[in-house]
Symmetry: C2
Subunit: 336 residues, 2 copies
């Protein structure tokens, strides 16, 4: 079965993916940070049973402590789990669908962290799927819920809808032309936040950003999704215009073609350089300079991350071996 991220998505030239995440807690248990091992196991079992009660084999349950470190990090690289979820894995379960579009972390910060991912811009569709699964669970479990302040969560910033919706955006032209910092200030006033999606630090690797809603209290899910959707569409239009202008400059266009030339001929390619070059190539593909599809590039961005690369090759690799393996795959995929 195809993974969700190789599907063609709406506004796919700029929007890589959409994610809707709901945080839920069980009324009769303390938050995970306060749970003893027995309590954690109980929470894991209760939620797993609720999800798989109807004999549905839609979901696969993964006991996090059964995973190798590489497998766990690869899940984080694919944004299926949070980096924190890979750190301490005892008493934690990951539940996923085969296409990896739905993933549920048990005993992360909250008892239940349910997320749905879709390719491109697809906020309402992602929410609808999350909502359906949430309704199933709601029918079988007793959520910690307060009529006045909504879903109770460990972190007060999630109180209310406890919904975090986000879109992953590729903004190479707005980054290059220095317009991104202004944009960050603007979206902040509109109740949103934007930050680099890959790696820590200030510079967003590959010019890939995550734009998400900040407000969960005093707003409905639909209103939050509408707001994020509208602002995303505006940014998409700005980025497209900036890309067209940038590529009208022969020196910038040259850099894009060179990036492709290096990616399809290098014998060694580390993850940092890859992210910089694939970002240029993705912009070129988005504006019709190359034959390669945006979905193929999205897949590469996922698969070329260090742990996922090792998972694909089926063995542990030293840094230099990873760089050689990455270069080899890139040459095969990006034939000019």
């Amino acid at each position: 079965m195809n993974k969700w991220y190789i599907e063609k998505g709406d506004q796919g030239d700029v929007v890589l993916s959409t994610r809707v995440r709901l945080a839920r807690n069980l009324d009769e248990f303390p938050f995970p940070a306060k749970l003893d091992p027995k309590g954690r196991n109980a929470v894991n079992k209760i939620v797993k049973d609720a999800l798989t009660a109807d004999g549905a084999d839609t979901f696969k349950c993964i006991d996090m402590k059964e995973l190798t470190q590489t497998q766990a990090v690869s899940f984080a690289e694919r944004h299926l789990i949070s980096p924190e979820f890979t750190q301490s894995r005892e008493g934690r379960t990951l539940i996923i669908t085969e296409d990896e579009s739905v993933s549920i972390m048990l005993c992360e910060e909250d008892h239940i962290r349910l997320q749905v991912m879709k390719s491109g811009l697809s906020l309402h569709e992602a929410y609808d799927i999350a909502n359906k699964i949430d309704n199933i669970l709601d029918g079988k479990l007793r959520y910690a819920f307060d009529e006045r302040i909504g879903y109770l969560t460990q972190c007060p910033t999630n109180l209310g809808t406890a919904m975090r919706a986000s879109v992953m955006l590729h903004l190479p032209a707005l980054t290059k032309t220095g317009k991104l910092s202004g944009l960050a200030a603007t979206v902040s006033k509109l109740g949103l936040t934007i930050r680099g999606a890959y790696g820590e630090g200030t510079a967003a690797r590959g010019a890939i950003y995550q734009l998400s809603n900040q407000i969960t209290l005093g707003i409905t899910e639909q209103a939050a999704l509408d707001n994020l959707n509208a602002i995303t569409l505006q940014i998409v239009a700005q980025e497209r215009a900036a890309q067209r202008e940038l590529l009208n400059n022969p020196a910038e266009e040259d850099q894009v073609y060179r990036a492709m030339g290096i990616l399809n001929s290098a014998r060694m390619m580390d993850a940092d350089e890859f992210m910089g070059l694939i970002s240029l190539v993705r912009m070129g593909a988005a504006r019709g300079l190359f034959n390669v599809t945006i979905e193929r590039i999205n897949e590469l961005i996922v698969n070329m991350q260090p742990a996922t690369l090792m998972e694909m090759s089926g063995r542990n690799l030293e840094a230099a071996q990873r760089d050689a393996e990455r270069a080899k795959i890139l040459r095969e995929i990006l034939v000019s």
Copy 2:
């Protein structure tokens, strides 16, 4: 008719070309620097008549002042004439064969500067051709010659045989590993000199060097050629070994493949960057990494020089237009 430089040459992986140059002066005229216009015209006419007397249409006579600046510089880029010969062109003639292997400058530093070029290492063959033409001229003209000190030339460093033999060498690995400076000191003790073949300055553009004999007095032509030939073969062996060692290093091999990727995908390519990249690609081709032939690369090195590029495209080009035209031709020739 094919130009001499696209022929396959002996030791061609390292030796681009061989050049033998003879300087001759007419007994009854002062050296060119002391000649008035009338005298220069007389020298031009006498030598031209001597060469074309037998009705041979082997030679094409070019009045240097009829050339555009671009045409003249292109001849210099192809090493058919000296850069000085392009500066003041009044009263100067260039005589060449169609394949450009023989070129004769009239009224350069000496009355006659006869040079023969061959692909690869071919010193004796080049000398034999030069000697044959020299004999024809000798039969019809009276050379300035002294029994004791040989051919008389304006510059005393040419007295004696007045022969300068040289080979153009591509030494990227000896350059990269820092062994070239030691080599320069060694060949100097053996009566030879080595210097960058392209451009001024210390760094040899494209790691292309000219190795030539320094001694013309008290040595026969054959002895000078034998000496240069033997030392060239030693350097060739050293360079080959250094190339093999260098390319065993994955990071260095990576640079070679990247150079090819950039050359066959860039949209803008200036002459300096081209020389650096083509040098790496030439080394890769010499060691069997690429399908492109050494002769094709040699041709590119000649044709991608600024004035020659404009001559090929048939129009004057601004720097940015040249860089775009150069990149376009490279993409066509270096298909991966």
